[in-house]
């Protein structure tokens, strides 16, 4: 199975539903208009992450990025579909294999403060997991942690401090060292730099890149910041309301986005080279995942929506240049035409 991708999601869905409790069931018996409310956080997503790749996952708040990330990291079960680790379904793994797979995929979170237990010292924060998993002998934990700390740019003399005694950037480094401590192969970064100032953000991003080289790490990089994703990712996946709407390499995706949503995202991204510009926002709000629009989720906000968009869910299909896009318009106009149409309609 050498050619199986490191991590793969196949038709993965995740629904959060609130079951009716007895009282609501009784009320429904009496005719109250109640039904189970289901959030389709992730809806039939296919995603492949190859060894050594940095895959970026972008999309607006609540579109399901974190949920997908969690499922990929194996800490949240899927509702449908399966996640495969080196070709094997995660749910089929047991015992040592399962632990192995779990440790091999680590996660780094957004808010560096809340991911660190405030009552633990750095040495324990980083050292606990390798110790309990027997990755290092008890006596060597300090050395091991010190080495890791040094690697992520923390002064090893700080090991006995508590998280609050560090700055935001340093905390994020602790989080990274903690993840590295269990020798993962893949790291899911969930908005890991969003809370940081640009300069610190740059430091951490550099660290990610260095670590990738050094340890051959693979990243699933979740962010809403397109410029960051563009910079460090080998491949970008754009999500909208639980679905993947477009994928492609950054170069292609950013130069010729195929999906109208991606186009809007890229167009509206502020940039310092683009001064006192005019904004041409997409209208409308992001719909609620509780009752998403029919057909293409984006159709109510899409400037080009046609009748079919309301009815039929567009599938993710190749759109040339190795890009994939889920939009009906490319069928009608051809992939190149769609983006041209999009550009002309907005100018």
């Amino acid at each position: 199975m050498m050619d199986a991708p490191l991590l793969e999601a196949r038709g993965v869905s995740r629904r959060f539903s609130r079951k009716l409790d007895y009282a609501e069931k009784i009320a429904r018996m009496f005719g109250a208009n109640l039904s189970e409310r289901t959030v389709h956080a992730v809806d039939q997503v296919d995603l492949t992450v190859n060894r050594g790749e940095v895959v970026g996952l972008v999309g607006e708040s609540g579109c399901g990025k974190s949920t997908l990330g969690r499922m990929m990291a194996g800490i949240m079960p899927t509702s449908d579909g399966e996640v495969r680790w080196k070709g094997k379904s995660l749910s089929a793994l047991t015992g040592a294999d399962k632990r192995q797979a779990r440790l091999a995929a680590q996660m780094i979170f957004q808010d560096p403060m809340s991911t660190l237990n405030p009552r633990k010292r750095v040495i324990d924060l980083i050292g606990e997991a390798p110790r309990v998993h027997g990755l290092v002998p008890d006596g060597n934990v300090r050395d091991y942690v010190a080495k890791l700390a040094e690697r992520v740019g923390l002064d090893p003399s700080y090991l006995d401090r508590y998280p609050h005694q560090f700055s935001g950037g340093q905390r994020q480094r602790i989080g990274i060292a903690r993840a590295l401590a269990v020798k993962p192969e893949l790291i899911v970064c969930d908005e890991s730099v969003a809370a940081l100032d640009v300069s610190i953000q740059a430091q951490i991003l550099n660290l990610f890149m260095d670590l990738k080289k050094e340890f051959g790490l693979t990243y699933l990089f979740i962010s809403h910041d397109l410029s960051v994703v563009k910079h460090i990712c080998d491949r970008v996946v754009v999500m909208y309301l639980g679905r993947v709407v477009e994928t492609g390499t950054p170069d292609e995706l950013f130069s010729s986005p195929k999906h109208p949503y991606t186009q809007a995202l890229i167009r509206e991204l502020p940039s310092i080279t683009d001064r006192r510009r005019d904004f041409t926002p997409i209208r409308g709000e992001i719909p609620s995942p509780l009752n998403p629009p029919s057909g293409c989720h984006f159709h109510p906000r899409c400037p080009f929506a046609i009748e079919r968009c309301q009815r039929e869910r567009p599938l993710l299909e190749p759109a040339g240049n190795g890009q994939m896009s889920a939009c009906h318009l490319k069928d009608l106009l051809g992939s190149a035409g769609a983006s041209k149409l999009a550009q002309s309609a907005n100018v």
């Binding site: 640009v198 953000q201 940039s271 904004f279």
Partner: protein
């Protein structure tokens, strides 16, 4: 040059704490001209918000404005009694806050919160106040504003709430709006909607605008002039094109180079070395000294504000700069 809307001189706002005085704003001077949009950028904790609050006299105790003058349309605001200040707040200077989820009182309807603002300043009937509120909501692009007046904040999305806040700010057609990172908490597409509206309205009502942000991109897109803050001081200011094209202060340079777009894809980024000093233990002289690759011994003395025509900076070793 006509009289500026706002003329801040040598403003210092300090927070005395148990561990020492935090000089959140330290000898800051700037002006905002009529109809001018001024961007205020800087990293977290540099004093941007406190500058904004100082202008409105809303610094939380124990903080207070310790010195300097704030002249608004020629009128001195520091030392103004609360009562007089109140007639200016909301009426002539309005403010929009960062977090749209927190700025509206969750237990009062949007209408109540708007109407009270009208009534606080103008002696009009409730019906009239309501009509004005409704119009303001319409202005910021909220559909069916009449019904929405009776809704409560939690029934709005983040973007909508921020629009409500903007509508409230616009109720009295203020001469100056201070916007404190109003789009930071919002998604890109929503941010762009808000930026669009603000720009349109500022133009329409000939308002001056101070736009606080840590995102150079947003400021670039919106502002006429930009001011860069570092450790409580404005370290560089000037027309936006100018500053962004040819930054003079090493901090501004560092800030611009640190963003991913500044280097080719896949290349290492160029962060500013070191970290911002703790507000309690700032080095004497230039606060950026420790992180600056140009620093020399002279930097241990406070640099003066260097004024070169429209540009100004506080640095002994500005990056070479030639007037355009």
């Amino acid at each position: 040059m006509t009289q500026p809307v706002l003329d801040v001189r040598n403003l210092s706002t300090h927070f005395p704490t148990r561990r020492g005085v935090i000089k959140a704003v330290d000898d800051v001077s700037f002006q905002v001209g009529q109809r001018e949009i001024v961007g205020l950028v800087g990293e977290s904790g540099s004093g941007k918000s406190i500058t904004g609050f100082s202008i409105l006299g809303l610094v939380d105790p124990p903080g207070r404005v310790v010195s300097g003058s704030i002249r608004f349309q020629g009128e001195e605001l520091t030392g103004l009694p609360q009562k007089a200040m109140r007639t200016i707040r909301g009426k002539r200077i309005a403010m929009i806050f960062q977090d749209p989820m927190m700025t509206l009182n969750p237990v009062l309807s949007v209408g109540t919160q708007m109407i009270e603002t009208v009534l606080a300043h103008d002696n009009v009937s409730r019906a009239e106040a309501r009509a004005r509120s409704r119009d303001a909501l319409g202005l910021v692009g909220i559909p069916s504003p009449d019904e929405r007046l009776d809704a409560y904040p939690h029934q709005f999305s983040g973007g909508m709430r921020q629009r409500v806040a903007i509508a409230i700010a616009l109720l009295h057609r203020p001469e100056l709006i201070i916007a404190d990172e109003p789009t930071t908490a919002l998604d890109v597409t929503i941010q762009s909607q808000i930026l669009f509206e603000i720009k349109r309205l500022a133009n329409e009502f000939s308002m001056a605008l101070i736009w606080i942000s840590h995102d150079l991109g947003v400021v670039a897109a919106l502002a006429d002039r930009v001011m860069v803050m570092y450790a409580g001081k404005i370290v560089e200011a000037g027309p936006v094109d100018d500053v962004l094209a040819r930054p003079a202060h090493p901090y501004t340079v560092g800030l611009m180079q640190a963003i991913p777009a500044a280097v080719p894809r896949g290349e290492p980024l160029k962060p500013i070395p070191g970290m911002a000093p703790s507000p309690l233990a700032r080095p004497s002289g230039c606060a950026f000294r420790d992180r600056c690759d140009r620093a020399t011994d002279i930097c241990a003395t406070p640099p003066a504000l260097d004024l070169s025509e429209a540009r100004e900076w506080r640095c002994f070793h500005p990056k070479e700069w030639r007037a355009a």
